[in-house]
Amino acid sequence: MSDAPIVELKGVTRILQEAVPVTLVRDIDLTIHRGEFVSVTGPSGSGKSSLLYLLGLLDLPTHGHVLIDGEDTAGFSLNHLADIRLQKLGFVFQFHFLLPEFTVLHNVTLPMLRLGRLGEKEIHERGMALLADFEIADQASKRPDQLSGGQRQRVAVARALANDPPLVLADEPTGNLDMRNSEIVQGIFARLAAEQGRTVIAVTHDKDFADSAPRNIHLVDGRIDSDVRR
């Protein structure tokens, strides 16, 4: 584990401006280092997903600063934020969110095609290698709706890793899976952190999953209630 922080939150507050303003997270200070595997737990409505969206630059804080890789993102344009997401972040959601019109392989290669850093052949090879990593290479030419829930979620993880991001964010990745698939996905996340040195931040309400992570952050009412390293 290196000491350089990959994400830092400084006094981050997010208020939804609606008829009655809703505070999603309040005054959060948080530092996460490279290679950490962090689980985020809390009762529903405690702001754990909102925290993840802020960490992933999908949402912007009302107050405070989000630093990715030491870079303060406050005031960045939407396009700049999109570029950071493309290169440094990978998302996995509760629902797989694969594009239904494309094959499994095409779904995985989309972020690489967008980045355009690799040639077509290399993109294809890397896509197949990622699928092989998660033992779904044989499904490459199928469409997402022909896959089981567990397989789809593995495709989603493969897609999140397409551009080799240092930071992987997961929002209830096992929330929609049965026990067996849940364990497989859980194992994958542990491996990403331990073997590949990626930072993994996973929001979950699954106690086993949360406990498998070396660090757990517990949120209550939009504040950090506890931050435990095991």
Binding site: S49, S50, Y53, G56, L58, D59, L78, N79, A82, D83, I84, R85, L86, Q87, L89, F91, F93, Q94, F95, F97, L99, P100, E101, F102, H106, L110, P111, L113, R114, L115, G116, E120, R159, N163, D171, E172, G175
Partner: protein, 416 residues
């Protein structure tokens, strides 16, 4: 590479909604196809009409008239004077274009210009106790062939026979029928001054224009001068020039030089030419309406796709696609529909032109069947295609822009 990603996504989404895509593409195709066909017909008939106007009559006619009455001498001598005259007797001119021989000669020296003097007047043609009043035109038969299309309309005899026969006339079939005249019959022609001459019918023409067919008599200029008692006089100079479009300028030039009223074919047919403008406006409005409907179709399908694909848009954005990328994806869909519609429309247009090309119509008053005049030019295809592309892109623009403004977190938050 990124282009191919956008196009790939766009194509996949359109293919997914195949039926709607086909319907909106057909809408564009119909618009383009009918534009090509109507526009070919419209501009074809316009050209046909103009061609007739240009060919049937001289391009320019110099008349022995003036646009404004000559001012009284007192007004030219005392331009500032407080003079008022009423009931003045206008000066009488000897009618006719002065020195017409020299004018015709001068005009004829220019390349591509054919000019001839003519004398027009009225007379009564009498045969077997029946009278018909007629317009007399004394012409030069050699040149008349180039000035008007009368030679092509000859049914019997020819203009050139005016030269060989003594005191010959060429009349319309309508008049011949009314009087019971036939070829080589001797008709009596009575001038307003009371001169009576017996003249031989040496030609019959039919132009399809009733006024000419029943009321026009051609004879040699020399015979007309004798009949109308105007020796050596010509009251018209009729001119054909190389470029008919220049007629207006040339006419203005001649009028300012000689003072005589000089009419170009455009001036004479101003009302027709105005009509063409109106027709073009009608064509373009109808096609514009078809295209607007097609554009609404495109707008509809792309709006639907954007609404349906909000989740996919959000996921693409979370992956790191920019708002602009998303906008491209949907604009490309509009361009797809527009381009495919355009190509299908061109094919439809070709088929329609082929069909219209076989149609033969009978013009009332004319015996011969006529083909529809069609102009098959690149212009129609180009403009039709441009119409299609512009309306497709415009229709896709609004929903595409909306898609680019989707905030991914709103959708992901709602979905999980």
């Amino acid at each position: 590479m990124f282009w191919r990603v956008s196009i790939g996504i766009a194509a996949a989404q359109l293919a997914h909604r195949r039926r709607q895509t086909i319907v909106s593409t057909l809408g564009v195709a119909l618009g383009v196809g009918f534009f090509v066909a109507t526009s070919a017909l419209m501009s074809g008939s316009e050209q046909d009409m103009v061609q007739r106007l240009v060919d049937n009559a001289p391009h320019i006619t110099v008349k022995d008239e003036f646009r404004t009455a000559a001012p009284q001498p007192v007004f030219t001598v005392y331009p500032q004077g407080a003079v008022s005259l009423s009931n003045t007797k206008p000066r009488e001119y000897l009618r006719g274009v002065k020195n017409h021989g020299a004018k015709v000669e001068e005009l004829s020296r220019q390349t591509g210009v054919i000019a001839a003097a003519a004398l027009t007047g009225t007379a009564i043609v009498r045969y077997a106790a029946k009278d018909v009043s007629a317009g007399i035109t004394g012409i030069d038969p050699e040149k008349e062939r180039f000035l008007t299309t009368i030679e092509e309309d000859m049914r019997q005899g020819s203009l050139m026979r005016l030269r060989t026969a003594s005191q010959g006339i060429v009349i319309g079939e309508g008049m011949a029928l009314r009087l019971g005249l036939g070829m080589d019959d001797l008709a009596t022609v009575v001038s307003p001054t009371g001169l009576v001459r017996r003249m031989k019918v040496v030609g019959l023409f039919r132009t399809g224009n009733l006024l000419l067919d029943e009321g026009q008599v051609y004879m040699l200029l020399k015979d007309a001068q004798v009949l109308l008692d105007k020796p050596f006089v010509a009251n018209r100079i009729r001119i054909k020039i190389a470029d008919p479009d220049m007629a207006e300028d040339v006419a203005a030039d001649l009028e300012s030089r000689w003072g005589y009223r000089t009419e170009s074919w455009q001036e004479v047919n101003r009302d027709f030419l105005g009509l063409f403008v109106v027709r073009n406006i009608i064509t373009y409005s109808i096609v514009g309406a078809i295209m607007a409907v097609a554009a609404f179709g495109i707008f509809n399908i792309i709006s639907t796709v954007v609404m349906e694909k909000r989740r996919d848009i959000a996921i693409l954005m979370s992956m790191g696609f920019r708002g602009g990328d998303i906008q491209w994806v949907f604009l490309v869909q509009g361009v797809f529909v527009g381009m495919i519609g355009m190509i299908m429309g061109w094919m439809l247009g070709l088929v329609l032109l082929q069909m219209l090309g076989t149609v033969e119509i009978t013009v009332p008053g004319l015996m011969d069947k006529q083909k529809l005049p069609l102009e098959r030019g690149f212009f129609q295809f180009g403009v039709g295609g441009l119409f299609a592309l512009v309306s497709a892109v415009a229709a896709a623009w609004i929903p595409a822009r909306k898609a680019s403004q989707v905030r991914p977190v709103d959708i992901i938050r709602g979905a999980t």
